[in-house]
Structure formats: structure tokens, C-alpha cells
């Protein structure tokens, strides 16, 4: 497949606007400006594009909700918080292909009639920040951003806002709170950001990768786009692969490739040709899979069928030597650390799970600990305010479910 999202990124100057334009960049913008905003949305709807931030919500539908709301002004926010361990796909676009994102954002803003946009950037991406800032400056100079873009009377301004290192600020409503200068905690939904987002105005929040798909959709048309990859969730997809593979990195492949193909074909297999023991398909907030599931196509529909999720498409492979209880501990520690503290089950429960697992790892496990752990996780599940706490519980359950014997062994051999 020809690369779309990472087109030309081998070039050391791929972030430069001239290079980008040379490779056909900003053509889609011209094309979109010849269309009516409504038709742009329609094109996106027909493309079947689903959000790449993790939840897989149909992008065209989200946009039409915001457009249906009579309130103005409207805002466009790019979610570049990319905080989930294992996920570094957006970084590829941000650092190597920033104009693709900017072009996507200008087209999106044109479609939803937003005059202001924000890129909420992960605080730990200083390089991406520099690249973005100079790309935005170039875009202003070339009149792809500003009050009268391409002389068409369309105005759009773009700001970069750096987060301060909270994973929860990747959740869209917490992100808005944070952008408004408040403590990053999720808001009650509904109202959804499409109706009451930034400054309580209709706001579209899309992931970097989602927005980076827009120029391609406009370029080739929604129908053609919908033929790429899986039929129900089409399009190119970035997979960030890490762990015990020979060639870790960001891979652009169509939606629906199998885990096996990613690990063994594209990443060259397991390091030292060891055996694969487990794989996380979509970032640490998705349940872990055992090797028998790796023929599952990587998309929003098929992974749930084997008990996991596509999430951000961050694949982490573990070879046979890995202590899965330790992995589980590490992940639970992350969730405990990142729980915003708003709701009781996540705030108190995740720490409790961590304490039990930590005790087991430290050789002080007791009989009954595992049932207890299972119970604590069930007590969290389904009761939290936002998906973070739920993920922590499901994830722990997936380790307990798939690798219970490892936990038991630790307790027995304490």
C-alpha cells in the first residue's frame, strides 16, 4: 500500500512546508475550499473514517452533530496528548508530517465552521512542539492559516497548548478542562463536547491521526477511501509496535492486518527468535492476548471478539521470558498514578489492586489474594466516572484470566 499518513517521511526535511507541497501537500485544502462545508462532511461520512483516538467513533457523524448545534463560535481541537504507554504513532505525524495535520485541521475547521483551533500536545513532546510551531508559522506565511485563507474569506487560527503530563487529559472532556486552565478531570457527559465543549461552545475533538486522514479522504474521495482496509473500519492505520520484536517502530498498514502479520512480517519476529508469550494489541489500557489470538485482524470490530480492543493500535509484544505478574503490576501502577481522583472506585480501587499485586510480586502473597483481587476489580468495573478506571479493572482481569498460573506460582513460592 502506498503510504498516506507517513508519505515522504524518510526525507530529512519532510516537516518543511516546501517539501510537503512538493509532494502534493495542501492540494486537498484547495479542493475542499471548492466544496461546500456540508459536502466535505459528507465525504468524510462516506469514507467510513472512525476516530483513531481509541474509541473509534465515526468522525463524519461527530462533525455533523457539532454542525447541527446552532451555537457559535465552534472550536476544533486536535488531541495530541498521546499519553498511553506503548503509543507513539501520533508522534510520527507530529514530528515528521506536521503539515498533513495542519492541512487536515484547516479542512476540518472549514467543514465545521470553526475559526479557532487548538492542538493539545503531550507535554513530553518538546521536539514535536518545536516542529509544530515552525510548521504553523510557515502555514501562516503561506496563508494556509490566518484570517483569509487562500483569499477565500475563510479564517482559521491554530494554537499549540502543551499538557503537563497527565494521562487523563487525553480524555476529551478532561482535555477541555485543562485547556480552560482548570484541573484535568473529566466532565459529566452529556452534554458532549459537540454541544458544550471548550468555553461551553460546540467543539470537535479529534485525534491527530484522525485529522491526518482528512486530506487523503478529500484527495481520493470518501468512496475510494472506504475501500482501504477493513470494510467496517476502513483506512490506513498507524501501528506503534514495541516490546520484544526485532524492528520496533511506527508502521502504516491498512486497517485489519493481523497481529501476526505486524509482528512477524513487518517487525521481523520476536527478538532472539524466542517464543511469543503475550501481546497487548492497542496500548496498555487494552486487555492482553495470548499467542493463539494473533491471527485476529487489527480493527475496531474484530479485536473485541477475542476479548480485547484496538485502542490506539499500540502493539506491545512480550517474549517467553517475561514475568506477566510484573507486567500487570507495572500497568496497574500506571493507572494508579494517572487516576485523576474524581471518582471513588478508580481512586481507591486501583491503588488497592496495585497493593495486592505488589505484595504478590514481593513474595508476600496470600491464599485468597487472587479471588480478592478479582473481586476488587469487579467492584471497580462499571462504576467509574470515566473509562480510565474501567480499563484498569478489565486489564487486571485479563492478566488474571490469561496468566492466573503465574500469579498462583508466585503466591505458592513466596
Amino acid at each position: 500500500m502506498e503510504r498516506v499518513l507517513l508519505r515522504n517521511t524518510e526525507s530529512p526535511h519532510s516537516a518543511d512546508i516546501h517539501e510537503y507541497i512538493k509532494g502534493g501537500g495542501y492540494i486537498s485544502l484547495h479542493k475542499a475550499f471548492e466544496m461546500k462545508p456540508f459536502d466535505v462532511i459528507d465525504e468524510v461520512r462516506r469514507s467510513g473514517l472512525r476516530g483513531r483516538g481509541g474509541a473509534g467513533f465515526p468522525t463524519g457523524m461527530k462533525w455533523s452533530f457539532a454542525v447541527a448545534d446552532p451555537q457559535t463560535p465552534k472550536y476544533l481541537i486536535c488531541n495530541a496528548d498521546e499519553g498511553e504507554p506503548g503509543t507513539f504513532k501520533d508522534r510520527g505525524i507530529l514530528e515528521k508530517n506536521p503539515h498533513l495535520l495542519i492541512e487536515g485541521m484547516v479542512i476540518s475547521a472549514y467543514a465545521i465552521e470553526a475559526a479557532w483551533g487548538y492542538i493539545y500536545l503531550r507535554g513530553e513532546y518538546p521536539r514535536a512542539k518545536d516542529v509544530l510551531l515552525s510548521a504553523i508559522k510557515q502555514a501562516y506565511e503561506k496563508n494556509y492559516l490566518g484570517d483569509n485563507i487562500l483569499g477565500k474569506g475563510v479564517g482559521f487560527h491554530l494554537h499549540v497548548h502543551c499538557g503537563a503530563g497527565a494521562y487523563i487529559c487525553g480524555e476529551e472532556t478532561a482535555l477541555i478542562e485543562s485547556l480552560e486552565g482548570k484541573r484535568g478531570q473529566p466532565r459529566i457527559k452529556p452534554p458532549f463536547p459537540v454541544n458544550e465543549g471548550f468555553s461551553l461552545k460546540p467543539t470537535i475533538i479529534n485525534n491527530v491521526e484522525t485529522l491526518a486522514n482528512i486530506p487523503c479522504i478529500i484527495e481520493i474521495g470518501g468512496d475510494a477511501y472506504s475501500k482501504i482496509g477493513s470494510p467496517e473500519c476502513p483506512g490506513p492505520k498507524l501501528y506503534s509496535v514495541s516490546g520484544h520484536v526485532k524492528r520496533p517502530g511506527v508502521y502504516e498498514l491498512p486497517m485489519g492486518v493481523t497481529l501476526r502479520e505486524i509482528i512477524y512480517t513487518h517487525c521481523g519476529g520476536i527478538l532472539g527468535d524466542k517464543k511469543l508469550k503475550a501481546v497487548i494489541p492497542g496500548g496498555i489500557s487494552t486487555p492482553v492476548l495470548t499467542p493463539d489470538k494473533i491471527d485476529c485482524p487489527m480493527d475496531f470490530r474484530n479485536l473485541p471478539r477475542v476479548g480485547s480492543l484496538l485502542g490506539s493500535g499500540a502493539v506491545i509484544a512480550f517474549d517467553e521470558t517475561v514475568d506477566m505478574v510484573n507486567v500487570c503490576l507495572r500497568i496497574t501502577k500506571f493507572f494508579e498514578h494517572e487516576s485523576c481522583g474524581k471518582c471513588t472506585p478508580c481512586r481507591e480501587g486501583v491503588g488497592w489492586m496495585r497493593a495486592i499485586i505488589e505484595r504478590i510480586c514481593g513474595g508476600a502473597g496470600r491464599n485468597g489474594d487472587l479471588d480478592h483481587l478479582m473481586e476488587v476489580s469487579s467492584n471497580i468495573l462499571g462504576k467509574t466516572f470515566c473509562p480510565l478506571g474501567d480499563s484498569a479493572a478489565t486489564v487486571v482481569q485479563s492478566y488474571l484470566g490469561n496468566f492466573r498460573h503465574e500469579f498462583e506460582e508466585k503466591i505458592k513460592n513466596r
Partner: protein, 862 residues
Amino acid sequence: MITITINEKKITLEKPVTILEAARSAGIHIPTLCHEDILEPYGGCRLCLVEVEKVPRLLSACTQYITEGMVVRTETERVIEARRAILEFLLINHPLDCSFCDKAGECDLQDLAMKYGPATGRFAEGKRKHPESYDDPLIVRNMERCVLCSKCVRMCEDVQGASALCITNRGSKSYVEPFSGGRYNCEYCGNCLTVCPVGAIMSGLHRHDYRSWLIEREVETVCSYCGVGCSLLLQIRGNSLIRTVPKIGRGLNRGLLCSKGRFGYDYISNSERLDTPLIRRNGELQPAAWSEAITHIARRLKEIKENHGSDAIAGIVSGRCTNEDAYVFQKFFRGAIGTNNIDSVASLAYGPAQRFFERIFGQGVTANDIHGISNSDGIFVIGGDPTGINPVLGLQVRSACKKGAPVVVMGYAEGLKRFSKHAFITNSTTETVLLASLVSEIKKKKSLPGERPVFEEIISGLQPVPLKDASEMSGFGLNDLVDTVDTLSNMINPSIIVGRDIVQTSTGHMSLLFLAALAYLLNGRIYLLSELPNEQGLLDMGCQPDMLPSGRPLTIETFRTRCEETLGIAIPSTPGLNYVEMIEAAHAGRIKALYVMGEDTVQGLPDRNYVSDALRNVEFLVVQDMFLTETAQYADVVLPSLSWAEKEGSYTNLERRVQLTKKAVEGEGIEEWKIISEMSKILGLDMGYRSVTDIFTEIVRISHIYREITYNDITSGRCMWPYKGGPLRHDVHIEGIELPDIVSVMKNADESGVQVRREAHLFHSQNASRYSPALQSISPEPYVKMSETLAGRLSLRDGEHVKVVTEAGSITLSVHRDPCLPENVVLIPPFEKGGIFEITKWKVNPVTKAPALDGNRVIIET
């Protein structure tokens, strides 16, 4: 109409509400922890989870709105399991130290755990530690007990508008902390304490000295501090007041309080309180029996009356006296002494302002519901900080602002800094000039409605003051002024809030006229700030030298004779002296006997030396007070007063709402009205009251405005103007209002130098707060606020001490730098020692007869 089913019960509601509200309306209880009616839904604790048919997840009832046909179940096994799980989570890091937690017995968590919780905890991993913080003098924080419901933070941010608290850290390491660190340095409203469901934020005043279940009685009464009259609950054990607490939803304050109401109650148990009468013998105040003191006073008053005439005697009432006490006091002076020399603190500002507005717009024009403020589309504040003087009224201003109403402030308002669109900190002359200029500009934009032709003639006759001239004179930017004119002109139903500083200047009478014109042009509702709980009542009771009860002029014979006939007394026909005239007459030796009930005169008037001289000059001075105030120290007889919690009566607040104050504990002493009637009897007028009810019955009989009110009406809290529809007086007399010569005011203004103005301080009221250790502990040190430029020029840092010198005196104060202040104004609050009245000279506004605090130039000596 929306119909839903909860627990198999069909419920129909008019508008979409939350499941929680719907359930409550049907009498179905759903447990909550982070929900509070006056706060926005939060959804954090997850205790209120319920099952909704066709929805796989449990939903939080406090955040989820009902939809047609929704089927909700609140007590299924799944729900009960979930509740138990949540409670278990809440308890794992909780210290379970109920045995010495002050909240025990009234703790939501304790009650919930008892009702729904697991019997035993399974948590064995070691609890989070967080030492209790005693850094603050009033508020104790124990973050191990915190359930992170965030109610305190939301209260402070969204309702109080102080934004003093935050949740620090994340996840299970979260805890609540004031932004300022250990000490709160906030407004100390205590509203965060009110909503904390557990023992995490508590009052330090009664720490570990009571158990909630040992509280024997609760008395609902109104606060004794300011003219708002918030409802509060006095909790008593034996004969001691354990604490005062508000009750969410109750009273006009709906459960909110300010620092004074919340923490200031401890003055009543101050050990310095007088418990026995004192008579000056051989130059010293010595204890005496009540009967002796009362006969002594009666005898001396009689002598003086015989030797010098009735008009050599005068009486002053404080704004903390009840209607009943005030009424009896003026009746005593008119009927038993035979003089109209009776006045009160209300005449220092509140009275003249109200009188002026009523003269133009009719009686009751300032009787407006406080809650109307938050519904107005714009606010104009002048002459005082509502959030400092009448804090709970001030919250309404902040709330209006949050709803988008622009706030324009003239004068200094610390608590509105973050809420005002425009703020002009003026000195007194520029205040009048600016007002004049605003009126002349707004006049051009708004047409006169034609309702009050006579007043419109006056408005039309006002000299124009171009904004440019006002800007040049005041130093405020022309653009700001232009925008202010626009902002004000665009208001449709504004509230105009008036504090005493505007009255207490030598051009105060002019300012009042311009303000009336402004209110008329903008169709504004006027609110008068009132620093004491019963200023309005004093006016209504006839504690004025020229007015009988219910604001009827004494010089109108029909009123006077009707009063005389009803009461069976003779009332002299010539008006008496007002408060400042009494002091002047005393200074000149014309007042021989002065009876001061509850007022610390030396501390309430400009020029302490002048006032002390006047008091020393009085042959016979009687002071009735709870404490040996500075005024009392000059007295010949001092009578101890009961505190507001020790007697019954009524207060009329600044909205003219009449409310009851109730007796909660027994005090050492006798009710004022009893003492006065006792003396009256000796002087030959037997008033014959057996109880306060008798007095109130008489008030109702004599006053056409209080007609037919009963104590029962008052108890409901809705005893609002115009009460039983009593006729409003429409005989408005505008004639005789002089058109101010603002042009010559501008010409003659001397704007050189730095002038001192008064800052009404949130934690320091006129007197009771001085005797409250709690309030004193917050910010005990007297200070002077000055601009950054002035401080910079003198190289002064915050907290440094300087000598502030005027013609009238000098005081040493610590420096507070305030970037909002202009260079030519410094502010000093009325502290007992080091207060503004020590360095202001005696001056009276010729028209309103209110003291004037302007024109005092200061020199700062480092």
C-alpha cells in the same frame, strides 16, 4: 410532562430533572455523598448509582437526567452491591478514628457505612497518611478523612467565589488544600465546612470540646452582625452556646454565612464581658447592684431635667439593639424625659441615604429582595464593598457576574476585584464628579420615562460634566469612562448597591442626588448596605430626632397627636438633635446627660480626640454595653447588656424583612427594655410591658407600616415589605432639593496629596468583632493599604511599619501594597487601635448631617 417509573412507582414530572430529584420528589431515598443542591452535579462519589432498564451500566442518579418512559430501580441487588463496594472503597484509606472525630454523630460517611456498608473491611495494605493541619487559627484540616467529594472546592469556587481551595495531587494522593498553603488566607466564610460531609474540614473553635449528640437544644435565629440577617442555628448544651452553624437551604442566606456569622459568635462568651453595673465613685467605676444603678440613673436624669431642661438630655441607640429595645428607648426619651434628642448610628449614613431616596421615590424604595441582585443584568456598586460589609449580599453580586452581568464599581471593593468590569477607586470629590459626569452622559443616551416629572426637571437642570473633564480631573482613562457609560446604559434591570462611604463626605448630598438620577435613568433597584443588624429597625422605630415610629415626620401635627393619643404621652413638637449634633452640643457643653445604648461612640465617629472631649464634657454619661468599651470608660454609670443570644426581639434587615432573634442561653443581666421601663416608671411613665410581645403589639398598633404583623408572621422568614400591604406614602416632596453646583466643586477641588479613605473590613465590624477572639485571630494587625507606586516611591515592602500622619493625629501601621489603588488614595479600616478614626478630623456634611471623612491628607513617614 415526563413520566418515568422508579421502583415500580409511576412518577410524572413537569420538566427534565435528574433521577435523584425525581426520586426525591416521590419520597424515594437515594444515598449521596458528593451531591449538594446548591452546587452543580459532580458525579464523583458514585454512591448514587441506580439501575436503569435497557442501560447496561449503572448510572449515577445525581447526574443523569430522566427521559420519557425511563424505568429506574434504586434498590436492586446489583445496586446494593455497588453501594457496598463504593463504601468499602471509601473506607479503605479512611482512618476510622470516629472515636475522637468532631464529626462523629453527624457524619454522612458514618451514617452511610452504618446503613449500607460492609460489616468488616478487607483492606490490609496500609493506609495513606496525611497529618492533621493546625496551621490555620480557625479551620482544621484532616485529609485522612477526606472523601474527595470536592464539595468544599466547588462551594468555594462556584458559590463563594473566593477560589481559595484546590485539590492537590492526583488519584489516591489527592487532598484538599488552600492555595495559600497551610493557612487559609481566604474569606473565612466557613461555607466549605458547612458542606464537608465528613470530619475533613472542621471549625477549630470547638475542636474536641463537644460531641454532636450531646447538643441538647438548637435555636434558629438570625445573625447579629450585619444588615443582611442570615439565619443560623445556635447549638446549646446546658447554658453554653457550643457553636453556630447554618442550615443548608434555610433562611434568606439559604445556608451560606460569612466569617462573622460563622466564627464571630464567641464574643458572647468572652471573659471580658461585664456582668454587673458599674457606678463611678471617686473617679472610679465600681460595681453596684442593679437596683442601685437604675435608681441612680433615674435620679440623675431627673435632676438634670429639672436644672437644665429636657433638651439637655440625649440618647443614642446602636444598630445591634432590637426593634423592641429601640422602640422603648425612644418612647422613654419622648414620653418620660420629654425630648426628641434621640438618634442612632443609622443617621451616620444609612438613614440619610434612605431618607434621600425615599424623598424622591417614595417610602420603601430600598426595600428590595436580596436575591433580586443575582437576577439583574448589571450591577453598579458605590461607596462600599458588598462582599466585605454584607458578605452574603455580596455573593449575589458575584453570582450575577458569573451569569454574565457586568459589574461596575466606584470606590474600593476588595472582594469584587476579580468580578468587576470597571472599577474606579476614587477620592471623595472625584466620586461626586464622576457620578455627575456619568449622569450627564447617560442622560444623552436614555430618554426620561416621564414617570416623575418633578424629579425629571431636576435631572434636566443638572449641570453637564463632559466625560473628558471628569477623566482629566480624576485621572481615569477616557475610554474606560466611555465604555462604562455604554455598559451602564445597556442595563435593563440593574441593581444599584450603595455603601456608606458615598454619604460620609462633604459632597455626599450631591452624590446622593446624582445617584438617584442614575438609578432613575437606568431603572435600577437600590440596595443600601448596612453594617449593623438593625439599622433599618432603628429608623422604623422612630429613633430619629425628627421622625416618629414608621418614618412619620414629627413636625406634622396629625401624626404627632395621633401618636400622643395612642400612647397617652406628650411628645415635644420640635425636632431634637441628631447623633453628630449631639456630640457637637456635648462638646459645647449644651448636653448635660447622654445615654448611649450599645454604641461605642468614640470608635464610630471621625476624630477620636474631639469625641472623647465631648464625652468628658458631659455631666452624666450612661453607657449600656456588653463590654467596657472606650466610650464606657468615660461613663458615670455602665450597665451590662445582654448579647443577642440571650434575649428576644426582632430585627429589620436592609431589605426591610422583619426577623426574630431568639433567646438561646441565659445571660447575666437584664433586658434593655426592662431597664428602661424601670427607669421610666421612676420618672413617672409606667409603660407596663410584661414581655417583648407586649412591646411588639404596641409597635404594631402605632406604626402604620408594621400594622397587623405578628411574631408568627415573622417566624416564617417571609415578613417582607410592604408587609400586610400597608399603604405606602406617596406624598413625595422634592421641593427644596438644591441643584448642586458641580462646576464650582470641580473648580475648587484640591486634588493634591494623598487622601485617606475607610476600608470596611470583612473581619472587623464596628464593635462585636473586636471581642471575638476568632475574628481577631484572622488579621489582627492594623494596616494601611497603598498603591504600588506610592509604596515604591517610599521603598516600602509589604508588612513594613510606617507612621501615617494627618492634621488630626498619627498612627503606626503595617503596609499592605495593593496594585489596584491609585496613588492618591490610601485605605485604613476602623481598627480599634490604629484605625482611621484616629486620624480624621471632625467634619460634618452640612445637608445630610452625616460625618464627613474626606479631606484628610496623609503624610507617610518611614
